[in-house]
Symmetry: C2
């Protein structure tokens, strides 16, 4: 694709649609929302307010790091602390769809609707990509950011119109556009990370304690695999426990699954055949996390598995 | 060790201890109980009654196959159907120790005590090995067959005395003794399989449906890895479920863990670095089992994990 032409068209389209009104967008630090943030700022400048909502589901140090990267590009980002609201909404939920729904609802119906009102914005810029739409419509997985496509009228429901500049692109195209827009490789080449973030990396109920465990495991996996060239890699915390031995005593410990996949566009994926040295090293580090005594490697392609567990 | 001397000593010891009384032993088909069965028959002939209790926790076709092998060695084995008793005892239990306890209690306090009474036996020949005793005493795992060592007086509790000819041996020594006794390689070299059998291969509650799933997975793993030279290999069914795609629709499927380890004596173990061809093939077959959409490979050595999950 012609990235330069694409960005010019989208910038023109955003300008024309928004006119003199105000717009808002939520940045998560993923390549999709980061690309939309830059496109939006090039189109609208100070008419666009960008917020980063800390939902306590982020990776280690992530909110602060992302805000800093955009500050360095002269794009101001408001960091909003909504951690307690998300944790409360997720308490007691174990069903994957209910968990995703709780994150969506808390974001749109509680936190974001408040931020939109405060900002006076009439337009929302959204990082939806083609795969999100396809999977939601097919009933495979309810993506957090799909609204219009499943019949939700955002203007009625939330008081704003949605603009989705990336909705015809797949992940590989978005990375090209991000590069064209001058986003640093840390963002343009960043591995995919789901909207409901670490809530999708915990099978079963999400609690502050489990988030801490999976956050630590995620940092280890990302550090070990960042130079693997893989499409995506992650750590998932299970609810099941298994017996183990620590200091010569029986321990009923937690289980972390490591998943590392090759894919072009997330529609299908194969498992990365990592070296045994690397697998052993990851296992050794993961099983040093407090309470964790097993580390498993996911062998399953997509299909029949999805990339994420939740 | 001198296997010939060991077997002669044990045969003499069993003869002397039992005298003119009757003895009984339970055969599971594992190398320990198979070795004890042959030792016992060489010492006692028709004074020894050998039973095989079908607890519904066995592998595909196992009860019939084991009885046949011993019939071919002129050792008669009574096949006892106790499947319903074990399933009822396990219903609703999720804690590993409670599950092991339920299998132990059903076996000793219900099924076996009845068989002992019917047989008139005063002595039980038991396949306990040194590692079983050490792990139980250390509190790592309650082995199903440890009684005296944790203070249970079997004569008081069950009406018989226990003879444990293998209690000074580890697994590698038992295999040598089995070979010396002329047991076929299928038994002498058989990979370890725990007493509570497939109940330890299901994390969480044991049901007839889950047993069917893990039995199928176990057959696949054993078929694929029987020529791997590994010490032990297994399939474990988790309670956790994960999202997947089947026929283009979302599916919330079951997860099978494959574990394959290298060990000499089961006290410590390392993970077998299987080839990716083999891992992919196992995954492909496992995810064709009805309801299963993930296959994971356990990367964890012992310690910090145990070999089994339950």
């Amino acid at each position: 694709m012609d990235c330069k032409k694409f960005t010019e068209e989208q910038i023109a389209h955003i300008k024309e649609t928004v006119g003199d009104a105000k717009a808002i967008n939520a940045l998560s630090g993923g390549v999709d929302s980061s690309t939309v943030t830059v496109l939006g700022h090039q189109a609208l400048g100070k008419q666009l307010k960008t917020v980063f909502v800390d939902n306590d589901l982020m990776r280690e140090g992530e909110p602060q790091r992302i805000v800093k990267i955009f500050a360095d590009m002269d794009i101001p980002v408001d960091l909003v602390d909504a951690r307690q609201e998300f944790l409360s909404a997720l308490a007691g939920l174990t069903d994957p769809e209910e968990k995703r729904q709780a994150v969506t609802d808390t974001f749109y119906s509680k936190v974001f609707v408040r931020l939109v009102k405060e900002s006076g914005a009439k337009f929302l810029l959204h990082g939806t990509i083609l795969t999100d739409i396809e999977e939601t419509v097919a009933g495979i997985k309810r993506q957090h950011n799909i609204l219009a496509q499943i019949g939700i009228d955002t203007e009625d429901a939330y008081g704003y119109s949605v603009i989705e500049p990336l909705k015809t692109l797949r992940k590989d195209d978005v990375r090209e556009v991000a590069k064209t827009l001058g986003l640093p490789a840390e963002l343009s080449q960043r591995i995919p990370f789901p909207g409901p973030a670490l809530a999708t990396r915990i099978v079963g109920e999400v609690t502050a304690e489990k988030l801490e465990t999976v956050r630590t495991a995620t940092a280890i996996v990302e550090e070990e695999l960042c130079d693997s060239g893989a499409f995506q890699y992650m750590a998932v915390l299970l609810t099941d426990r298994a017996t183990g031995i620590r200091n010569n005593k029986r321990e009923f410990g937690q289980i972390i699954v490591v998943r590392c996949i090759e894919s072009v566009d997330a529609r299908t994926a194969t498992v990365t055949p990592l070296s045994w040295d690397k697998l052993n090293r990851i296992c050794q580090r993961i099983t040093k996390i407090k309470g964790v005594n097993r580390c498993l490697y996911d062998l399953t392609p997509k299909p029949p598995a999805t990339i994420e567990y939740v």
